[in-house]
Amino acid sequence: MRALGAILVKDLRVELRTLESVPGMVLFAVTTFVIFRFGLDRTSLDGSLAAGVLLATVLFAAILAVNRIFVAERDQGGLDAIRLAPVDANALLAAKVAALVVYLVILEAIAVPIFAVFFLDEWSALAPLALVLLLADLGLAATGALVSSLATGSRARDLLVPLVLLPLIVPLMIAAAAAAEPLLAAGAPEYDEVATWLAVLGLYDVVFLLVGYGVFDFVLED
């Protein structure tokens, strides 16, 4: 926990100082909403279309951060420094997952209200939607951090991350969209099947956190 906390605080401090990831993610999301608004020529979205627009935007914005999350460790020797220290390598992965979740929560805290202003007539679903997004964020961060650690040594990192990450994320996106769809349905939100899909999201999160825990040591080895 000591190492996890130190690496997380370091990452957040560097992000606060350099603003390399989060502002880019927010700008990307807002620009995408504007494009959808004029591209679809709609002032209101609901159901599966609303869920799709929101989740696809968050996913592609997240890739910007996933691409960068291990760059400092690789380019500035952080991986060597952490491997020399008496800490569990998984603390590094856990810290990167936590940092990505923080970035995504900040992104969504800004982007979701903008999405609601652009497209939603009914705002009462935003609170339960936050739970869907949080579980999706955790899965996205767990998978993203692992893929990023695998790709970070490659010169084709920017291409490799989306190519590997997107297929792995498909089940997460299906579950998140299915959970968000009834919440964003026209009229009052429906909660009937949400719990089932939240459980699927939780299961995805657990599986990818465990996969990361199991393989990260080997990823770090030369």
Binding site: G5, K10, A72, I82, L84, P86
Partner: protein
């Protein structure tokens, strides 16, 4: 001129334990390291006692940095037996980690953190409690007290090297691995860091250097690697003359 004899580490450690002897700080027996088709180190064997110093010399591409990274547990040996601080590598690397200080070609400092933030970060990783006094003392000793609040990206290469030495000795390691520690340093800075990176009092030092005259004159043991990563010489530093060392660099001695 002779390389040391090969011994099986497992057998050697049992033998040491039976004799009530502390195992050496470093024991290599027939170490090999390959990168794909290229062989970086071939059949390197040596023993280094606790508190001893070893200078490693050899031409570019002879495997000096690779050797240091294997000893630092950052690279897995491809073959042979390697034991560092009593831990057999790579299986027991976790036992040696945290007891090794390493100065490599990169300072291993985050460019967007200040010097003191970097050192505090490393102190936390090593579980050093209330590290401020130790950090202040080290920065004072390398003449960087006034640069502690500066971002590492703004430091010159020499200043970054001084900070890297502070990082490497922060946790008072038992084994110090130094890859050209005086690189980028002016003579005054080299003098400032010298007391921090010398062997003795339970600290073992392995130093890679191209300044073989100074390295051999410092005494201790010497390992000369030739082209192809062979150990051309392994023994006391005084047993290797400067002219032989020069011949190893030229590739005339193999």
């Amino acid at each position: 001129m002779a390389t040391s004899t090969k011994r099986d580490n497992g057998v050697a450690e049992v033998h040491d334990a039976q004799q009530g002897r502390e195992p050496p700080a470093i024991r290599l027996a027939g170490l090999w390291r390959e990168f794909g088709e290229r062989i970086a180190l071939q059949d390197v064997s040596l023993e280094l006692a606790h508190g001893d110093s070893l200078v490693v010399i050899g031409p570019n591409g002879s495997g000096k940095t690779t050797l240091l990274r294997v000893l630092a547990t950052l690279l897995r040996p491809s073959g042979g037996d390697v034991a560092v601080l009593g831990a057999r590598l790579p299986r027991e690397a976790w036992r040696a980690r945290g007891r090794i200080g390493y100065v490599g070609h990169e300072p291993l400092l985050y460019r967007d953190l200040t010097v003191s933030e970097n050192l505090r970060f490393h102190a936390t990783l090593y579980g050093i409690e209330a590290p401020e006094r130790r950090i202040d003392e080290l920065l004072e000793r390398v003449g960087m007290s006034r640069r502690a609040g500066e971002l590492t990206r703004n430091l010159s290469a020499g200043m970054a090297q001084r900070a890297a030495v502070c990082r490497a000795v922060l946790h008072e390691p038992e084994l110090l691995l130094l890859d050209e520690p005086s690189a980028h340093l002016d003579p005054e800075a080299s003098e400032l860091i010298a007391p921090l990176i010398t062997a003795g009092a339970g600290r073992t030092c392995v130093t890679v250097t191209h300044d073989f005259r100074a390295g051999l004159a410092a005494g201790g043991r010497a390992l000369a690697l030739g082209h192809g990563g062979w150990a051309v010489y392994s023994g006391p530093a005084e047993g290797l003359s400067a002219s032989d060392a020069e011949a190893i660099y030229r590739g005339a001695l193999r």
